[in-house]
Symmetry: C2
Subunit: 297 residues, 2 copies
């Protein structure tokens, strides 16, 4: 596999794993984060950093793992945007969850600089990111796939190609976030309901994981509630954004999404209770508060 | 393991698997169903049937896999109820999803006849039922567990003991059904939303199964929608009952369950559209109808 020069922007729980996996894949990886600690974490794992302008100018692939569409747009085209610095034919791999129409707009603007844009949201969580076993749901021109593939292979187990235009990749990610968000809110409702019936939280998580009610998010976030771990690897506030995107896209398509709306309200209530910066498992605290139930720890 | 004489009542998609697994486990199994075809299916697989009164009188274990609490109560204590025919010390293994207070009442009534009652809902679906790999979430006196264990082992992979009283087993099943019902309704919402964005249903199911948005029910019922298979192994109407039980129990505990309520309304809408007898994946048709979307096949 061709060794690529890669710049990764955003070294949070997902970005750090992506950057380290690309490094483990044999690429020449430079990492950047506005947070000094996040940047140090990558250097400590053998990564490099440098002057953004110079590094981007020599990169074949720029991977954006920032928080949202606004940050992505600022990174690419803001006052110190990187796209104007990039070589013609190099590729932006855009991993943040953003609206399909944002992806289309960013792709069009990249086109003005002869830079390729791959609408390539990722899924799998920080553990899979660090192991290079993410799932990538991507769309964009064949040339963008070709340019990005050596890096995509190093960070993922599955790369899905959803077509030649930017947009479907992000739309597919919205489908996943719709489900994931509902499942986290359902975890909160189910776990506290079970506790209200006198069953202990750890037993509920163990038993459900063997039953038809289980989900990836139930097992992940249910374990967080059992451990009393509300570290914000993925914060409550992320879901206000992501389920907001789902409902915006849905409304624009005259698509009624009542479960998504109900789930979003639980995250809004959590944020309203001051929990927006906690890990998303804290959505269970809304149900717990309403039913006067004590969660573990 | 001791060979037991077992009578299984209810030979539908779950009960037939339970009866056949008990048979494969070396027990002497008699099966009964009001539907002649269901009963024939069991005989064709090597099962026996006979006179209910005589068979029950010689059974160590009576397994009830009927549809709901009312049928369970009628089977056990109706005009031709079996409990008065049972030997002292034999055990009723009650598998239907019913309210915890119904389980308590049935256990108390069994006690009058010195018959043991195990509140033992099952989960796993028809495939696991037929393989003897169900999960059982049970509660009841140690004597009831001891009497039932040789049969429970033959039909399940996991037996959880949730305490000495009837009730917690059914409460735990309600927790599972809360999640499973929400997840099926979420499957319908997600799959039709993705189709509304131009992504084909089969791709959505394949990609989500590799992502954090997946759930047991998404993979099971999503495949049904892709195949256009609305065979009622588990019908829409089951969820009107099961989520109704969840909300009744929740209200009695002053527990607010907004996602459960939203999911129930989708099943109610499906039933209102005349789909109550279809497989529960047909809940996707509600979203599809509202958004003027065509589902596969």
């Amino acid at each position: 596999m061709a060794r690529q020069v890669v710049s990764v922007f955003g070294l949070g729980s997902m970005g750090l794993g992506v950057a380290c996996s690309a490094l483990a894949g044999g690429h020449d990886v430079f990492g950047f984060d506005i947070d000094a600690q996040s940047q140090s974490n990558f250097i400590a794992r053998g990564g490099q950093t440098g002057d953004i302008k110079n590094t981007v100018a020599k990169s074949n692939v720029v991977v954006s793992v920032v928080l949202n569409g606004a940050q992505t747009e600022d990174l690419l085209f803001g006052a110190e945007g990187v796209v104007p610095q990039m070589q013609a034919g190099s590729v932006v791999v855009s991993c943040a969850t953003l609206a399909p129409e944002t992806a289309q707009r960013l792709a069009d603007k990249c086109d003005d600089y002869q830079v390729l844009y791959l609408d390539s949201p990722i899924s799998g969580g920080p553990v899979k990111a660090s192991k290079g076993t993410l799932t990538i749901m991507a769309s964009g021109p064949t040339a963008a796939f070709d340019a990005a593939m050596p890096v995509l292979r190093s960070i993922s187990e599955n790369v899905y190609n959803l077509g030649e235009e930017a947009g479907p990749g992000s739309a597919m990610k919205s489908v996943n976030q719709l489900l994931a968000g509902i499942h986290i809110a359902a975890m909160g409702e189910a776990l506290t309901f079970g506790i209200s019936q006198g069953i202990d939280a750890a037993s509920i998580v163990e038993i459900v994981s063997k039953c038809t009610g289980t989900s990836w998010m139930f097992e992940s976030r249910g374990a967080n509630v059992v451990d009393g771990d509300y570290t914000p690897y993925s914060a409550i506030n992320i879901w206000l954004k992501d389920l907001g995107i789902v409902l915006d896209v849905a409304k624009a398509s005259q698509f009624s999404a009542p479960l998504t709306a109900a789930a979003l309200q639980q995250f809004v209530a959590a944020a309203g209770q001051g929990l927006g910066g906690e890990g998303d498992a804290a959505v269970a605290k809304v149900c717990a508060h309403n039913a006067n139930i004590k969660l573990p720890k």
